[in-house]
Symmetry: C2
Subunit: 139 residues, 2 copies
DNA sequence: CATGATCATGGAAACCGTTGTCAATTTCAA
DNA sequence: TTGAAATTGACAACGGTTTCCATGATCATG
């Protein structure tokens, strides 16, 4: 019963709780870094619960659609990370791919101010910081 | 001699001022929207100054490297737009691809505050607003 | 339990934006 | 003018992602 929460989350996302999907979602839990479909496929390949590459791609896309994952663009490919429901921004380490969530009142106010000043109808915005996390910077 | 400025800009970027490169850079002048390599290649195909697709790709990449262009990521591909030298953010219309530059003191302060608070070594940041420009919103 | 109807899986092939290859051409300093 | 070095462009290759489709799992319903 170690994946009761996982199955629940999948069902809430409107997805059947298959072995593959719970495996993918479980692999994401507690992981501080964003990971790509290919990387995840590689990691699962070794374990007793492999998941087809196509299925990993599909599952990550579905979970991101459902708002359970954030898509973190990386050089030429796309990485994913479990995220909270609420709107947030990111602190992204380019060395270890760790992603921390940030709330940013000043950014939200900036967006509103700019939009109303220029008659712009906002559908979304993005504000992320790239660099080296404390651990990576020290080495 | 209508492209004296263009040639000059190319040379400053460390690139020879060939017909193809001046054509590409001229096509970008005065254009309010970001455009992809394929789109630009298509537009130039009709004119008397066509440029090979590979060359368009290479030229846009070089100009972006030189800091003359901003790369604006679009669904699965990359669009480019002439930009100013100084650091700035973007107001991006998803309908007409118009891109306006924004300066944002609040954002810069936010980045510094977050970084110093979490011992993060910043190498870059991004803050862009997506939606519909005044013209597109009204239709 | 059947028993279909629907959804999910995964290997292989296709897709598509982009980059590499390389012979022919152009640029530019001397 | 001239030759070394840079540039061009048709074409092939690349790599992440998606599509195909035959097989297998899931889930109502009787
Ligand atoms: Zn790190
Ligand atoms: Zn925000
Ligand atoms: Zn617009
Ligand atoms: Zn900034």
């Amino acid at each position: 019963m170690r994946d009761a929460v996982t199955s629940e989350a999948l069902r809430e996302a409107g997805l059947r709780a298959t072995r593959q999907r719970t495996t993918v979602l479980d692999a994401l839990r507690g992981r501080p870094d964003a990971i790509t479909a290919q990387e995840l496929h590689g990691e699962l390949r070794g374990t007793g619960e492999p998941v087809g590459l196509t299925t990993v791609y599909r599952t990550l896309a579905s979970l991101a659609d459902a708002g359970l994952l954030d898509a973190i663009p990386r050089e030429g490919e796309q990485a994913f990370r479990l995220c909270s429901d609420d709107h947030h921004h990111h602190l992204i380490c380019e060395a270890c791919n760790r992603v921390d969530e940030l709330t940013a009142e000043e950014v939200e106010r900036w967006v509103d101010a700019v939009a109303s000043r220029r008659g712009f109808r906002v559908t979304g915005h993005r504000a992320d910081i790239f660099g080296l996390c404390a651990a990576c910077a020290r080495s």
